[in-house]
């Protein structure tokens, strides 16, 4: 096994806080959400596992060594596993096409999708077609497919998640980079959550900021 400190990119003398920060930064970078539609999803999962193991090993070692530990449990190892493949429950019209995509037979899936007549192309068809396009790297086609699937069936969590993922990649701050040079990876979402937290805290103390 690799040296866990090397995996996290910190020195062995790093404080618990530093290790936690390094771990968090890496976990954000390799979070399975960034790679859901990517052909590299399996590699990202492995990397995430490695980071989780390294962090667990270090915290265990330090606990035994009597060093102070903040008890931060972080992203659990199981988290990364639950993202492998496209978990789907309920009935599916295109079960066999889903299987093709999950096992990486993209060309086959594309052919099967194309052979379905226009009249039968429902939200799921567009969603699956979007996944095929994403695997090919055709993200514009994928985007319009996911959008179509979402418009046709906005209540389906699977389509909504796919559409939201695309939107966050297309917005600034996607993929962990922040071109405006502020705090690393502070997306709109972080700002909203931050404001919300601040507001909640303020309200608690009796004041009301907004």
């Amino acid at each position: 096994m690799k040296n866990p400190y090397e995996v996290l990119g910190v020195s062995e003398n790093a404080t618990d806080e530093e290790i936690k920060a390094a771990y968090k930064a890496l976990a954000k970078k390799y979070h399975p959400d960034n790679y859901v539609d990517s052909p590299l999803a399996d590699l990202a999962n492995e990397k995430m596992k490695e980071i989780n193991e390294a962090y667990d090993t270090i915290t265990d070692m330090r606990k035994k060594g009597g060093s102070a530990n903040s008890g931060y449990s972080g992203y659990s190892g199981g988290n990364s596993n639950s993202y492998t493949g496209y978990g789907y429950s309920g009935s599916s019209q295109f079960q066999n096409i889903r299987m093709m995509i999950n096992s990486g037979r993209i060309a086959e899936a594309e052919q099967a999708l194309n052979s379905i007549p226009q009249a039968q192309r429902n939200a799921e068809w567009y969603f699956l077609n979007g996944m095929v396009m994403m695997n090919k790297g055709w993200s514009e086609q994928a985007y319009s497919c996911f959008r179509q699937a979402y418009t046709m069936d906005p209540n389906n969590p699977e389509y909504r998640a796919a559409f939201n993922r695309m939107n966050s990649q297309r917005a600034y701050g996607a993929g962990g980079y922040d071109p405006r040079g502020g705090a690393a990876g502070c997306s709109c979402c972080d700002i909203c959550v931050g404001l919300w937290c601040a507001d909640t805290c303020c309200s608690c103390m009796g004041g009301n900021c907004c």
Partner: protein, 292 residues
Amino acid sequence: MFGYVQIEKSELLVKEYETYKSIYCALCKTLGKEYSVFARFILSYDFTFFAALSMGVHDQKVCFNKGRCTFNPLKKCVFCGTGNDNMKKAAALSVITAFYKLKDDIRDGRIGKKIRSYLVYPFFSRWRKKAAQKYPEYEEAVSAMSQMQEQVEEDQMCHIDMAAEPTAKMLASVMEMQAKNEMEKRIFSELGYHLGRWIYFIDAVDDLEKDKKDGNFNPFLKYIKDEGDNENLKKYCNEVLNQSMCLSYNAYNLADIKRFKGILDNIYLKGLPFVQRKVLFGKGEFNDEESL
């Protein structure tokens, strides 16, 4: 490729900037040594990035030497990686892509550009021949791109993903050749594909006004035709570019970078977004944030 893959100098450490400069100088020197003193003029940031990335992922030793600059003999330079295989590959790829770019200019450039291109054609052709002999796989990838590009531009049904496919595929296959194992192959192919898309799109955005006037092909003209030419166009271009950059960066994160990580990170996280903003929105709008 056209020089869009740049560093953001103000965000680099001084030592990183010096290393970057020495890679740039070494690529210039290699072009001079392997091809001709005039081949130095095709030196570009894109291939400096390529050289830095491919040296960055290989174990092969990278040497730093001191020397004098050919163009300014009073200046002393540091050269990083001259004689390194990856540097030679970057030089060969520069020469080959420059040749096909020239061919493209002859095909659909303006008259002045055409004449200029014809004049230098024999030189470029000779250098390309030399590079192609050594690295036939590069020649194959780039010539395939050139052919495919011609085809997609003639296709009436061509959508934006198809238009970017030739450049994306070319860079994907060239990057793939730098890989040492199957896993790296997949990573580099994805990295190259989406970086290729980004380069293609940024060039298309940059040329949009000119192409509109000259009636040349441009992948964003279809959007204008469908949706009209309004402020949404820039937003749309920005989204397309963001996504390509994001996907390439995600792949890059999975690569095992052994050196020059600071420089490469800077290019992905600062350099490319900066270029993107400059091309899309001009310099003025971001002055307060960028000025130092």
